[in-house]
Structure formats: structure tokens, C-alpha cells
């Protein structure tokens, strides 16, 4: 009785992969631990080992096949002594898993957006290229490092490992170990070193493997980096970018799933950026590296592999403090940023099908924050829903609600509603995690409430 070998899940967010190479063929006898195949995920190429000894029956997926879903049978193996045994799988059950234990489903690709002429980031007719957020971030760093010798990249696994999330892939080869610096796992210590070097005139890009780990170093970020310019009477600034993935990935539990947008946005002396698209990731990171202040640059693991159109310009930057109107509408203003934009745009699509016209505003930077664009939109639509992944208490949405109440009270036809993540530590269980995260349906429901539909 042959047992099916299934496509393995090789990372928390992996849903499919490419069968890059078979290292065995039908009829081969394989040992436990022998490499069967090389499987390419969006982060790395991984070797896939046999769990048991046996003879390869047949290869079910051809070499080079891409988009092979996790748990798809890719080969069969006849395990010794099992020829007549019941079809008890050794490596994997042929039946589907009893529950949906897969990572939280990735939101659908960004819908085609209507970009308002009011917020042009590049001239009309500019040639465009398609790239992922990951590539955009890498390109921004490479361009700025080539432009300015004082810019360097430091962090855990940024060099020889090529980045835990592959954002720094190739930078070590391009710029050498002097400018792409692997650190030991010591956030508090290396953050202090990088901040000190910025006081002395360098422009570090400090990568946190995730922003959860920056908690270890938050004293250096707030007390050293953010306050020194003020405390020194303007004598000493700190041009540094703290960047890395922020917010929930998939099934990584409470300590690895937190959105810090509202935390850092609260701190004077910092600038806080949270891009959604690849074009904004590139243009805003370049601006961040050139900025003379400490910049908190919040990325998102789920967004790294998403593709967008990016202007093919030699030096494309996006200014801080300018929101982008992704979609014009007349019935309600939906304000969001970062991965929240996925839900905001998805909700706008659903609402359009029900005859509700939503204007979608992407804040892009949280400090400085483009209040004027938000207020102008609310004055037009008279209703507002905010959307973010972080917790509800002290959220960006809370703050915007207060500002709208103060500046546009007489324009409001309904209270502002804040859609946020749930007020709980992130649970691990797949069903609970799904419940804890924000959904576009919740945004739709909020919009219906403020539009009294």
C-alpha cells in the first residue's frame, strides 16, 4: 500500500510553493532523512526530507511546478513492511485535516483602485513596473546605500542569511560586510550602538526581525533616539530608520502578533510610517532614510509577497504627511493604513455592489498625519469609518475620531466608528485568531451603520 507524500508547510504563512527540483525518481529506495526535493517558498528554497524508509512509487507533481498547495500529494512511497498493511499514512493523512489548521487565509489581492488625480505621486505617463513590497523595500535600501556612503544596514540575519524575511537579499554581496552588518541576538545592545553612530553622523537602517522584538530596545528608541534633539537644544539629531515587520503574520501567537502603530505614533520626536502598496513602501523608505530624524517604518509580513505597480523612475520618493486617496466616493470616508487598506478596499468593493459609494483614504504616515485630506473627505461624505489592525484602546482611529469631532463636528451625519483588531492578546488557535483579526465584513457593517442602511 503506497502512502502519499504531501506538499509540506514550511513556514507560518506558506500556502503554496514551487517544486523546484526532484532529487529522487520513481523506484528509488530512500532512507529516513534523505532529501527528496527542493521546495521554493516566497522566502527561501528548502530541502524536504523523507521521514521514513521506503521505495518511491511515483512522482505526482512535475519538477518546476509552481503554486502547489500545501497538503497536495506530490509523490507516493511504499514503506517497507507495509505492502499489505492498512492504508495508514506514515507521513501524512490522505484525508484532509479535520479542521482548518492552515494559516489564516491571505486577503485577496488589492482590487483595482481608482487613484484620485488630487494625489499624484508620479507624473502622468510614467512607465510602471510590477514588483512586490519585498522587492520595493530592498530596492529602496540599495538605491539609498548607493547614493549615500553613510547609510548602512544592521540587524539580525540581514547579511549572510539574506534577511529573515529576505528583505535584504543580495545587499551583503552588493555593499560588503562593512555596510551590511549581522548582529548577535541582542536588540537592546545593538540598538544603542546604532543610535550612537547616528549621533556621530551615520545614517543607520536598523532592521528588527519583527517589531515585537523592538520592545527589548524601546528604551533606546524613545529615550535616546527620539528625545535627544530636543534635550540637546537642537545640537544633536538622530537620523536613523527602525524598520521590520509589524502586526500579525499567521498563527504565531500572542507574543509575535502585535501592531505598534498607535504606540509609536504617540511619541513626539519620532516619525512613523506604515505603507500599504509597493510604490509607497519604496518611496517612503527612501524618504525615511534621508530624513534627519528617527523614523519608525512599520512593514507587514503578509504584504511582503504582494505585487503592485511601481513607477520606473531613477529616484522615486513619497513625501511624509501626505495621505493618498485610493478610491473616490460620496457616501462615506473609510480611513486606513498599512494592511488595514486590504480590508478597507475590499469593503469598498462590496459596498459598491450594494450601491454605497465609499471614499478610501490611505494615511501612509501616522506621524506626521495628513489631517487635512481626512477632514476634506469627511466634509464631503459626512460619515467616517476608520480601519486598523491594532487594538481599540488608544488607537489611531480613536485619535482621528477626536480630531474629526473637533474640526468637522457640524459636517457629521453619524458618529465615527473605529474598526480595529479585538481587545485580546492574539490567540494561537486558527478559529480564534480569525475572530481576533479585523475583517472587511466588519468594515461593511460599520459603514452600513453610519449610513443608516
Amino acid at each position: 500500500m503506497a502512502t502519499e507524500i504531501l506538499m509540506p508547510a514550511l513556514s507560518p504563512t506558506m500556502e503554496e510553493g514551487t517544486l523546484a527540483k526532484w532529487l529522487v525518481k520513481a523506484g528509488d529506495t530512500v532512507k529516513s532523512g534523505q532529501i527528496l526535493a527542493e521546495i521554493e517558498t516566497d522566502k527561501a528554497t528548502m530541502e524536504f526530507e523523507a521521514v521514513d524508509e521506503g521505495v518511491i512509487g511515483e512522482l505526482l507533481v512535475a519538477e518546476g511546478a509552481s503554486g502547489v498547495k500545501v497538503n497536495t500529494p506530490i509523490a507516493t512511497i511504499v514503506v517497507e513492511g507495509e505492502a499489505a498493511a492498512a492504508p495508514t499514512p506514515v507521513i501524512a493523512a490522505p484525508a484532509p485535516a479535520p479542521v482548518a489548521a492552515k494559516p489564516a487565509p491571505a486577503p485577496a489581492p488589492a482590487p483595482v483602485a481608482i487613484v484620485a488625480a488630487a494625489t499624484p505621486d508620479w507624473p502622468a505617463g510614467t512607465p510602471m513596473k510590477t514588483m512586490t513590497v519585498r522587492e520595493a523595500l530592498r530596492e529602496a535600501m540599495a538605491e539609498e546605500m548607493a547614493r549615500d556612503e553613510t547609510v548602512y544596514l544592521m540587524g539580525e540575519e540581514v547579511g549572510e542569511y539574506q534577511g529573515a524575511y529576505k528583505i535584504s537579499q543580495g545587499l551583503l554581496d552588493q555593499f560588503g560586510a562593512r555596510r551590511v552588518i549581522d548582529t548577535p541576538i541582542t536588540e537592546h545592545g545593538f540598538t544603542g550602538i546604532a543610535v550612537g553612530s547616528a549621533f556621530a553622523g551615520l545614517r543607520p537602517i536598523l532592521e528588527f526581525m519583527t517589531f515585537n522584538f523592538a520592545m527589548q530596545a524601546i528604551d533606546q528608541i524613545l529615550n535616546s533616539a527620539a528625545k535627544t534633539l530636543y534635550m540637546s537644544g537642537g545640537q544633536m539629531g538622530c537620523p536613523i530608520v527602525f524598520r521590520g515587520p509589524n502586526g500579525a503574520a499567521a498563527r504565531v501567537g500572542a507574543q509575535h502578533s502585535q501592531d505598534y502603530a498607535a504606540w509609536y505614533a504617540q511619541v513626539p520626536g519620532l516619525k512613523v510610517v506604515m505603507p500599504y502598496s509597493a510604490a509607497d513602501a519604496k518611496g517612503l523608505l527612501k524618504t525615511a532614510i534621508r530624513d534627519g530624524n528617527p523614523v519608525i517604518f512599520l512593514e507587514n509580513e503578509i504584504m511582503y509577497g504582494r505585487s503592485f505597480e511601481v513607477p520606473d523612475l531613477p529616484d522615486f520618493t513619497v513625501p511624509f504627511g501626505k495621505a493618498k486617496v485610493w478610491r473616490e466616493g460620496s457616501d462615506v470616508t473609510i480611513v486606513s493604513f498599512g494592511i488595514g487598506m486590504v480590508h478597507a478596499l475590499e469593503a469598498a468593493d462590496k459596498l459598491a455592489r450594494e450601491g454605497i459609494s465609499a471614499e478610501v483614504v490611505d494615511l501612509r504616515t501616522l506621524r506626521p498625519l495628513d489631517y487635512d485630506t481626512v477632514i476634506a473627505s469627511v466634509q464631503k461624505t459626512n460619515r467616517c469609518v476608520t480601519v486598523e489592525e491594532g487594538w481599540p484602546v488608544g488607537s489611531i482611529g480613536n485619535h482621528l475620531s477626536a480630531v474629526i469631532m473637533e474640526r468637522a463636528f457640524d459636517y457629521l451625519d453619524a458618529p465615527v466608528i473605529n474598526c480595529t483588531g479585538k481587545d485580546v492578546p492574539m490567540p494561537y488557535a486558527a478559529n480564534l485568531e480569525k475572530l481576533a483579526l479585523l475583517t472587511s465584513d466588519e468594515v461593511v457593517a460599520a459603514v452600513k451603520k453610519v449610513t443608516y442602511r
Partner: protein, 332 residues
């Protein structure tokens, strides 16, 4: 305050047949459990991060042999072996890995965050080195209460570069806390070798600056681990703690399930498996000393296989936590 390197004499078998068989059984249980966890991860039944302990089994098994009831243990995210070695139920651990109601944290903690008050296991911590001051805090409580319990505080060679470790060393020495700092030196901090991350290779000597005795121990030899653990625990119980044990060990698998492990050669891993495997070592002692026959060991293998199958079955069939669990346990 002398620090010592592992001595060749440490490995001299001075152990009963029963204890050798117990070591064999416990180490094999951890290994088979982890192999099964790796399979369930590949099937998508375990999500997120999953850090396997395969290769390092002798460390927890040897040290648990020196513990008495009331002693505490705390460790990092590579924690499955520690839980099994201190007697936690494989079913409950596996069901936590699959995020089910039957898990130790009812599915809300995951691989890295599990606890058992009954077994004095205090987690399961996902932030590298955060458990080091917490472990000293457990020892502080025992000293405060006037008992002679010891806190085993495990961390890796990577964590040994975190500043809070040294902040903790200072306070533990200053207050003579009964804590055994167990450095599980598996030679790689995720993808960075010790050579590339650590200025002085002998981590056990770092306590000297704080007056903490340290030893380097062959962490692939369960008897050497037990012998060193006995010395450390005796010092702590006698009020002469803290104590540092640097266990020279090796992890066979990647840092986590998503590690392509390009930072070391397959030959290096294979050499350790072939020449230094902790379970094979005990197996040989049992067979060459005629303490057990091949059939005896096969019977143990079957027995453990059954335990693991049962744990996996439980972890697959235990229901997901009720939706209402989303809102519980947030405050007492």
C-alpha cells in the same frame, strides 16, 4: 571560584541499569515526540513556529535526574523536551501544538507558550532571554519562603548575548539565588554560528565577573550532564548558588520548521548524528554492558511509539477551543 572544563572522567558509567533504561526511554520519548510534531507541522495541523529539540535530549533528561519535587524549570521557545522531561502529558503538549481545547493552554498558547503549575514548569517564552530574569525571580521566591528548591533556568548560546542575562547574573549572585543557569550551547543562534556571534567561546566563564561558578559539560552525554547537575544543585541547595552549566550540545533540525539551514553543512549535522548521538550512546552502554537485549530496547521503542501515536491522535481529535475562549483568561 574556579571554572572548569568538561573532564574526560565525567562519562564513566556510574549508574544503575534501571536509571540507564529510564534515560533511554525519556530521551527516546522526546525524540519521537519531536519527529511526530515535525510531521504534523508538515500536514498543516501545527501552525506558526515550531522549534524542535532533536539532538539536545540528554540535557533535560540528565538534569531532571537531579531535580526533586518543588524544583522549578523555565525555558525558551524550544520547550517541548523540557515539558516531557518534567513529566507533563505528551497528549496535552501535542494538543497545544495543534491549537486544541485539550492542550495545556487550551490552544491559546501554541508551541512556545505552555505552562504546568503542577509540574512547576513556568514556560515556554518566545522572546530570547526574557526567561532568564523570570527564572531568577522563581528562585527569589523560594529563597524568600525559606525552602531549598532550585530553579533550572534554560537558555541558549544565542540568548547568552542578551544584556538582561548579565543584569540577571549580577542580581542572582548578589542575592545568592538558588538558580542553575543552564546554557544549552547548540552552537547556532538561529543561523549565526557561535564563532560569528560570540567574542569568547567559553560562555561558562562569563559568570566569573559576578563570582558565579561555571562548568562546561558534554551535553551529549547524559551521565556527564547528571554528574554536573548534581554538583550545581548541591551548591544551590546549600545556599551557595547561583551556578552556571554550559551544556555543549547540538540541534539536528533547523532553528524552526521554516529554516532552510544553509549556514551549516549536511555533513556537519550527519557527523554529530553518527558519532555523538546521545540516545545511541546510552543504547550502546545498555547493549555492551549486557544490561538489556536488542529485544528489550525494541519493546521500549514500541511502547514509546504507542504513547506518541496516542498523543498525536488526541491532538488531532481534540476539538478546537470554543469561540467563547477568545474572551476568557484575559483578567483573573
Amino acid at each position: 571560584m574556579v571554572s572548569r572544563k568538561a573532564g574526560a572522567a565525567a562519562s564513566t558509567p556510574n549508574v544503575s541499569r534501571e536509571e540507564l533504561l529510564k534515560f533511554y526511554r525519556e530521551m527516546l520519548l522526546i525524540r519521537r515526540f519531536e519527529e511526530k510534531a515535525g510531521q504534523l507541522y508538515g500536514m498543516g495541523l501545527i501552525g506558526g513556529f515550531c522549534h524542535l529539540y532533536i539532538g539536545q535530549e540528554a540535557v533535560v533528561v540528565g538534569l531532571e535526574a537531579t531535580a526533586k519535587d518543588g524544583d522549578k524549570r523555565i525555558t525558551s521557545y524550544r520547550d517541548h523536551g523540557h515539558m516531557l522531561a518534567c513529566g507533563m502529558d505528551p497528549k496535552g503538549v501535542m494538543a497545544e501544538l495543534t491549537g486544541r481545547e485539550g492542550g495545556y493552554s487550551r490552544g491559546k498558547g501554541g508551541s512556545m507558550h505552555m505552562f504546568s503549575k503542577e509540574k512547576h514548569f513556568y514556560g515556554g517564552h518566545g522572546i530570547v532571554a526574557a526567561q532568564v530574569p523570570l527564572g531568577a525571580g522563581l528562585a527569589f521566591a523560594d529563597k524568600y519562603l525559606g525552602n531549598d528548591n532550585v530553579s533550572f533556568t534554560y537558555f541558549g548560546d544565542g540568548a547568552a548575548n542578551q544584556g538582561q542575562v548579565y543584569e540577571t547574573f549580577n542580581m542572582a549572585a548578589l542575592w545568592q539565588l538558588p538558580v542553575v543557569f543552564v546554557i544549552e550551547n547548540n552552537q547556532y543562534a538561529m543561523g549565526t554560528s557561535q564563532r560569528r556571534s560570540t567574542s569568547s567561546p567559553d560562555i561558562y566563564t562569563r559568570g566569573a565577573a559576578f563570582g558565579i561558578q561555571g562548568e562546561s559539560v558534554d551535553g551529549m552525554d547524559v551521565l556527564a550532564v547528571k554528574a554536573a547537575g548534581t554538583r550545581a544543585v548541591a551548591a544551590c541547595r546549600a545556599g551557595k548558588g547561583p551556578y552556571i552549566l554550559e551544556m555543549m550540545t547540538y540541534r539536528y533540525r533547523g532553528h524552526s520548521m521554516s529554516d532552510p539551514a544553509k549556514y551549516r553543512s549536511r555533513e556537519e549535522v550527519q557527523k554529530m548524528r553518527d558519532e555523538r548521538d546521545a540516545i545511541e550512546h546510552v543504547r550502546e552502554l545498555l547493549l555492551t554492558g549486557k544490561h538489556a537485549t536488542d529485544d528489550d530496547l525494541k519493546a521500549i521503542d514500541r511502547e514509546i511509539k504507542a504513547v506518541i501515536s496516542e498523543a498525536a491522535e488526541f491532538a488531532k481529535t481534540s476539538p478546537e477551543p470554543d469561540a467563547s475562549e477568545l474572551w476568557t483568561d484575559i483578567t483573573a
